[in-house]
């Protein structure tokens, strides 16, 4: 995450200017991804949907290793696009995409039918976890946009965020 605001010398992101707060973010985000109850491919589908909708040049090219190991391959990622509703994606992932689109549209009301479908698929704790994962992805992808992303970036597999790690 480099570009219009320089990181401190030897660091990788401008957020390293505020190391204690950045470490707290990484503990939170790592816990959300690695200690949660929702399967990682479902969360990764939602994260990538946001990355494409928000236009984050970094986020959309990152792949979290846990989701890939659990079955989300590039063929599946390619379907997280317009027309996903009629694609071969599993219904659970389609629901995650629709939920992400709704969370991006807030404060517009969420379709009651979508709410009902989410509650049928996820229990209360899972729904809270998935929702916070998506809202965090939405908000932090904007940091990469704000700070500036490289014009081109290859698809890159990175470790799934963990509480003792850092977001790539």
């Amino acid at each position: 995450m480099t570009g219009r605001v320089a990181p401190p010398p030897g660091a990788t992101t401008p957020f390293d200017h505020v190391p204690a707060a950045w470490a707290a973010f990484n503990r939170f985000y790592g816990t959300l991804w690695s200690a949660g109850r929702v399967d990682q491919p479902t969360k990764e589908v939602a994260r990538l949907r946001n990355a494409r909708r928000t236009g984050c040049g970094i986020c959309k090219n990152l792949r979290f290793a846990g989701a890939r190991a659990a079955g989300l391959d590039e063929a599946g990622v390619a379907l997280i696009a317009d027309g996903f509703e009629t694609s071969a994606l599993p219904a659970r992932w389609k629901l995650a995409i629709r939920s992400t689109d709704a969370l991006l549209a807030l404060p517009a009301p969420i379709d009651p039918a979508l709410r009902a479908a989410m509650r049928a698929e996820f229990d209360a704790a899972e729904l809270a976890e998935l929702t916070l994962t998506v809202t965090t992805a939405i908000a932090f992808s904007k940091a990469a946009v704000t700070f500036g992303a490289p014009p081109e970036m290859p698809v890159l597999e990175v470790p799934t965020p963990a509480p003792d790690g850092a977001v790539a």
């Binding site: 957020f15 505020v18 707290a24 807030l106 969420i110 209360a124 965090t136 904007k142």
Partner: protein, 135 residues
């Protein structure tokens, strides 16, 4: 909100607490941004999450004047710059120009811009989660 989040509630609350302690941006400016971002998403701030230390957050007069922040006399130039950044961040981050970021860095320093962006992101994630009304 925290009661919904099980194991991630404690690190989420700690993250909120750390935002006020960076020393890179005044807590009052952050508090104004927190309140403005919540309003943009149709929410009030969540009192269960750590806020600014007593006496250094937004004043009652500022809270009342927040809807008119671009012109209201209750705000300093730095506070207005922070609020403008927060609104742009939430509504259209692609609209930031190089000059915008250079101006912010000249005003607040790189640590200040980093602290403001990190806080804006956390406040947006929080307000958007609340607006989803998953409970």
């Amino acid at each position: 909100m925290l009661e919904l989040l099980a194991g991630v509630g404690a690190p989420f609350a700690d993250l909120h607490a750390r935002l006020w302690e960076t020393g890179a941006i005044p807590p009052r400016t952050l508090d104004l941004c927190r309140r403005r971002i919540a309003t943009l998403l149709g929410r009030a701030v969540d009192g269960a999450l750590p806020g600014p230390p007593p006496g250094v957050g937004a004043t009652p007069g500022q809270i009342a004047a927040l809807p008119a922040w671009p012109t209201a006399p209750a705000f300093s130039d730095d506070e207005r710059a922070g609020l403008a950044f927060a609104e742009q961040y939430v509504l259209d981050p692609h609209g930031f120009s190089d000059a915008d970021l250079a101006g912010m860095e000249a005003r607040f320093g790189a640590p200040g811009v980093a602290a403001l962006a990190l806080a804006a992101a956390v406040f947006e994630a929080t307000a958007r989660f609340a607006a989803a009304e998953v409970a």
